[in-house]
């Protein structure tokens, strides 16, 4: 872990005197030195600079200087003041009693004639997480919200959100939010955008506050966009997500007015504009206009690919998302998504995924040639993805299957072990998808059996042996080779071996009768794995009761597989589309699985909404969970299949229940008054419905994950989790974190 730090060389070393105690004492002395002769306080400044430098670098030794620093706070130098304030913000939580001495100075500074000083004091006091400071902020804040300087007013606007973070109750019981709301009428665009950022921030952390924007306000907000900084534009655009169009013409007009923002050089403005436009499209009736808006979004998205790699990555992840919702947005030439040799790996992998999604009968030849090229690159992870993509294309586009298989066999012939393994797995899936078509290549595949050492590849080849036991001359011999090391194999391979042995027995009873009893015995008596044991018993009973129907069951027709398993379910898709450009779009998962505390966003019903919010029939069947248990239990179980992102199963860490449904207030404007007389019963019912059906669909997803367990062993589940594996690089893997660290992490 962290082992102190060595003294630094050069100019820097002078900032870091040697021993710890000595250091503090020395700095204290320096701070009080200078005396009256030192008019510009230059000695003090130097001392304070050293203290600030040491603040982060040397643990917390500097806290001992707190009283001395406060003594300097009142000197008439803005530079010194800023340093002292920084110190205060950093250490106040550790020593609240000492910090209190600074309070009168801050309160006094909030009345300074210099607007920069007023704003600085206000900004600083609101950072201090100490009760007395929070209480002392309320009165001055109300005054400063009406300050005549816009810089102070925008600082005051953010200050309300800060106070809300410190103490929700106190803010809700005051009239601060109403006052903040009134500031939306400010004539300065920067102030207005700050007010909106503050309101949206409060909205995100509250259960009782609803944010509604009517058309007139929305329209006004769009008109000041051009006068705001790029960040201000982003805040306004984010806030516009709370406007619910009541009329399709309004939605269209607003979308058209926002569209010019797509040419902004800041990608936050571009992606947030995309989010708002995609959202408004839900309320636009005319398909022609939708198509025209889609066309406008396409070039800017592609242009983001010339930005820094992190932004490229984000743009690509969002392209994957938007493609599923509005395919017409990405009618580009697929070649813009081809990988450059020097692209970073996470960019490449995402491009690959997008290429797979955009491949059609028409362009498959170009894509295959390209993928073949990638399969010769150096990065193993990427090469594997490329090979896998070829196999998946065979499954996605039937007419090109032969072409894909030929490419795969060509690659297999290069005898690079990880390519062979990956190819084996995808060829298994191809057999599965197109039975009785390509079995002629079995011989070719079996040749490389000795190169396979990864469980997934082994399981795949074993599946092939079992499935085609009657066509492969020495199938029993091949199986025997694997069975010799049965006990050392992973569960995945053991399961595959069990199934293959049974298949061998059914197709060639004479060859199989020796091995079957032995394998069944291992699986039922000598294993600790419940899955293996259950499957063992299942086969045992099947074979002993009725061999004829056993054949029907084991060799029967299998449910078809598709390559489209990474498609998001409609509900998640809808939710993510309302969050374009956010962190969740990198993961492409239901937002609650990654960000539990996030307040859910749903499409709000209105007369203009073109398609009613999703009411999938299945949800009705699933929300019979006892309501009281729903919040906690659902959070717990729905993640079981995907524990890779969210920490689960730690008894210490409290599982945040999903926030309860919000009951939108019909009246425009914002207010903590959640249930006024105007609230229609309908709204409440809808909100509750959408909340509970959301819970339902999450459970559906997790059931799907667990529910695949057929002849192909883990293959099915693996496919379902494709999105998960695709993102391996950013998904948290507990086994990488190491023992002790993991425990600590769960408490975050």
């Amino acid at each position: 872990m962290f082992i102190g730090f060595a003294p630094y060389a050069g100019t820097y070393s002078s900032l870091f005197p040697q021993s710890r105690q000595g250091k503090v004492a020395e700095l204290r002395q320096e701070l009080s030195s200078g005396g009256k002769k030192d008019k510009n306080y230059s000695a003090k400044k130097i001392a304070l600079k050293k203290i600030v430098a040491n603040m982060t670098m040397s643990n917390n030794d500097m806290v001992a200087l707190f009283p001395d620093v406060i003594d300097c706070m009142n000197l008439s130098s803005l530079e010194i003041k800023k340093m002292c304030f920084l110190f205060l913000v950093n250490y106040s939580r550790m020593k609240p009693d000492v910090a209190l001495k600074a309070l009168p100075i801050l309160v006094h500074d909030m009345e300074d004639t210099n607007p920069l000083v007023r704003a600085l004091a206000l900004r600083t006091i609101a950072y201090v997480h100490v009760r007395e400071f929070v209480e002392a902020t309320f009165q001055p804040l109300k005054r400063l919200m009406q300050d005549n300087d816009p810089y102070v007013r925008k600082t005051a606007a953010f200050c309300v959100a800060k106070l809300y973070e410190h103490d929700k109750k106190m803010v809700e019981n005051s009239d601060l939010i109403d006052r903040l709301n009134r500031m939306l009428k400010d004539e300065n665009p920067t102030v207005v955008s700050s007010v909106l950022a503050s309101l949206v921030d409060i909205w995100g952390r509250s259960e009782s506050i609803s944010l509604t924007i009517d058309y007139v306000s929305a329209s006004k907000l769009v008109s000041i966009l051009a006068d705001c900084s790029e960040w201000g534009q982003t805040y306004i655009l984010e806030a516009l997500m709370s406007y619910v169009p009541q009329d399709t013409a309004e939605a269209l007009l607003l979308a058209e007015r926002i569209a010019p923002r797509l040419s902004h050089s800041n990608s936050a403005v571009v992606l947030t504009s995309c989010r708002v436009i995609l959202y408004l499209m839900n309320y636009i009736a005319d398909e022609k206009h939708i198509t025209s808006l889609c066309k406008k979004m396409s070039p800017p998205l592609v242009t983001l690919l010339s930005k820094p790699p992190e932004v490229q990555y984000l743009a690509l992840r969002n392209a994957i998302l938007i493609l599923q919702k509005r395919p017409e947005v990405l009618r580009n030439d697929i070649r813009v998504f081809f990988c450059n040799y020097n692209d970073l790996i996470y960019v490449k992998v995402t491009k690959l995924e997008l290429m797979f999604m955009l491949t059609t009968k028409e362009n498959i030849s170009v894509v295959l040639a390209e993928l073949r090229e990638y399969a010769t690159e150096i990065d193993v992870h990427f090469v594997r993805k490329a090979v896998r993509a070829i196999g998946k294309l065979a499954i996605k586009i039937e007419s090109a299957a032969r072409q894909c298989i030929d490419t795969l066999l060509e690659l297999v012939d290069a005898k690079i072990p990880y390519i062979v393994q990956e190819a084996t797995v995808v060829i298994r899936n191809i057999f599965r998808k197109y039975p009785n078509q390509y079995e002629s290549i079995i011989g070719h595949v079996i040749q490389n059996i000795d190169d396979l050492d990864e469980p997934e590849a082994k399981a795949a080849i074993i599946w092939i042996i079992g499935q085609y036991a009657d066509r492969i001359e020495n199938s029993d011999g091949l199986l025997q080779d694997y069975l010799a090391t049965f006990h050392d194999e992973t569960i995945e391979v053991q399961l595959a071996l069990l199934t293959a042995t049974v298949k061998l027995f059914i197709q060639r009873p004479t060859k199989g009768q020796q091995i079957v009893p032995e394998v069944l015995k291992w699986c039922t008596e000598e294993t600790d794995d419940p899955d293996l044991r259950d499957r063992g018993y299942m086969y045992w009973r099947l074979l002993s009761t009725d061999p004829a129907s056993a054949k029907e069951v084991v060799m029967g027709q299998k449910p078809p597989i598709t390559a489209e398993s990474e498609k998001l379910d409609p509900r998640t898709l809808e939710e993510l589309c309302l969050n374009v450009g956010t962190l969740a779009t990198v993961y492409l998962k239901p937002i609650h699985q990654v960000f539990r505390a996030a307040r859910p966003r749903r499409l709000q019903p209105s007369p203009a909404l073109q398609r009613p919010p999703l009411e999938d029939g299945t949800a009705g069947m699933l929300d019979y969970n006892p309501p009281s248990a729903t919040a906690g239990a659902a959070g717990n179980t729905s993640n079981s299949g995907l524990a890779t992102i969210v920490t689960t199963g730690n008894p210490i860490s409290p599982i945040n229940p999903a926030p309860p449904p919000n009951f939108p207030v019909a009246a425009p404007g914002t207010g903590p008054n959640a249930a006024t007389g105007q609230t229609s019963m309908n709204d409440a019912v809808n909100a509750a419905d959408s909340y509970f059906s959301g819970v339902g669909s999450q459970q559906m997803a997790s059931m799907d994950l667990g529910g695949r367990d057929d002849g192909i062993g883990n293959g099915g589940a693996q496919q379902m989790q494709y999105v998960v594996t695709q993102n391996q690089q950013q998904v948290y893997q507990p086994h990488l974190a190491g023992g002790a660290a993991t425990g600590e992490l769960l408490l975050l």
């Binding site: 820097y12 800023k82 340093m83 210099n114 900004r123 960040w231 040419s263 800041n266 813009v336 975050l748």
Partner: protein, 446 residues
């Protein structure tokens, strides 16, 4: 939004830790160090652990990390981090470990100003330099209320990027059109991808509050600025027309820009309506716009590599490169990197121009031609002798790549038609334009 900003050096020492919300606890620094800096397996810029997300950017020898606790706007996070880097560069010349260590106070001061409660505020260098200063950057001290008001008006105004009191004796504006041309050519010589990423950099040294209008040989504009249906639907709708008039357009000397993105000073509504680029520029250098072009890309160089693997011990190269631009022009710093197998023992090269050298550390033969006149053609022949290896693995044959810069040439064919400056004092100004095409990712497979 952001809960905190952290800066680390490569060893994982936490140099800067600034929390903007109380949920950003000091031990998050340790977690980032363990999970990202000392974990080579983490390759993504975004990592979510529990309820905390770390988004990081590596710059020079430091890691800049944003900590968030919610489903924050990721685009905003990364744009902000790159802006922060830009600010660092503009304040310290170079934003690296040494700069951070020499400027702790200033960096904290900047962070306090450009982020409030984790929300990015005004990040315009010019405005910030009015009141956040170092020995290097001196300015009006903001201790008097009147000066301060000027600063606050500037920081919150509609022209936050420009001070109002700028004066020059000689009013000048320089426009640099810089294009990065990207090429991906297959082993059989077909162009898999060719496009241009252009940027227009402007250096404006203009007095007062000048209103600029800028014109390009953009096809949509030259065709009478009448995109279908009353100018409302811009680029999108006219794509049908584009295909038909390809030939006529090339003749007319106009280009089709796939997409444009502008500096925040450009009035986007105006551009959307009638394709006029009008703006009040910041003082000094800034990137006015970026654009992308994919049609009729002029490739400055044609490369024909012939690479033969002779058995397992030898590779023979013959690489011919021809300049495809007017004989009046010349490219400079042309560098061709020709990959060699990993087990290359030695190489011999012969060139008809320039010098070639084997760089074992990059597995490349590097062929440099300092000055390359238009229409000329040069050849390199080389041979790589390979050591026999016990583990014979196929050579992955990475693509051959080119870098160069070529003045007075644009691959897209883009030209600046005019730059007009209007200011109330009606001064005359001098405008200069330069064009340059560089290699972006210019790759040829073999």
């Amino acid at each position: 939004m952001l809960s905190g900003i952290l800066i680390f050096n490569q060893k994982g020492e936490n140099l800067i830790f600034r929390a903007f919300r109380s949920d950003c606890r000091p031990r998050l620094a340790d977690i980032f160090r363990i999970q990202v800096i000392s974990n080579p397996q983490v390759r993504s810029p975004i990592l979510t652990l529990g309820s905390t997300t770390f988004s990081h950017v590596k710059h020079e020898n430091i890691y800049l990390v944003a900590v968030t606790k919610s489903n924050a706007n990721a685009a905003l996070i990364f744009e902000f981090m790159y802006r922060f880097i830009m600010l660092g560069k503009s304040y310290f010349g170079k934003f690296d470990e040494e700069a951070v260590k020499n400027n702790f106070v200033l960096i904290y001061e900047l962070l306090d100003e450009i982020l409030d409660f984790g929300y990015p505020q005004n990040t315009e260098t010019d405005t910030l330099k009015m009141y956040i200063t170092t020995e290097g950057v001196k300015s009006v001290i903001a201790n008097s209320p009147t000066d301060s008001s000027r600063i606050t008006q500037q920081a919150t105004g509609a022209l936050s990027w420009r001070r109002s009191d700028i004066k020059y004796r000689k009013n000048e504006a320089f426009v640099d059109v810089i294009e990065d041309v990207n090429l991906l050519m297959s082993a059989t010589g077909t162009v898999l991808r060719a496009d241009v990423n252009g940027q227009i950099i402007m250096r404006a040294y203009l007095t007062g509050t000048p209103e600029c209008k800028f014109g390009l040989n953009d096809r949509l504009l030259l065709d009478g600025g009448a995109p279908v249906s009353g100018g409302k639907n811009g680029a999108g709708n006219s794509s049908g027309a584009m295909a038909t008039s390809k030939a006529t357009r090339a003749a007319a000397g106009s280009v089709t820009l796939e997409d444009c993105q502008f500096h925040q000073c450009v009035k986007l509504g105006r551009f959307d309506a009638d394709r006029i680029i009008s703006f009040v520029p910041p003082d000094g250098e800034f990137e006015l716009m970026r654009y992308r072009a994919t049609e009729n890309v002029n490739l400055p160089f044609k490369v024909h590599p012939i690479v033969r693997e002779i058995g397992t011990t030898k590779v023979e190269y013959s690489v011919a490169i021809k300049a495809n631009y007017s004989a009046k022009l010349f490219a400079t710093n042309v560098v061709i990197r020709i990959p060699t197998p990993l087990n290359t023992a030695k190489t011999t090269e012969r060139t008809s121009q320039g010098r070639a050298k084997y760089e074992p550390e990059h597995n490349n033969i590097v062929w440099k031609i300092p000055r390359f006149s238009g229409q000329s053609e040069y050849v390199l022949t080389a041979e790589a002798t390979l050591t026999s290896m016990t583990h014979q693995k196929a050579w992955s044959r990475p693509p051959l790549s080119l870098s160069f810069s070529l003045l007075m040439f644009t691959s897209s064919g883009l030209l600046v038609r005019y730059l007009k400056v209007f200011e109330k004092s009606n001064y005359s100004s001098v405008k200069w334009v330069r064009y340059m095409t560089r290699a972006g990712s210019y790759e040829i497979r073999f």
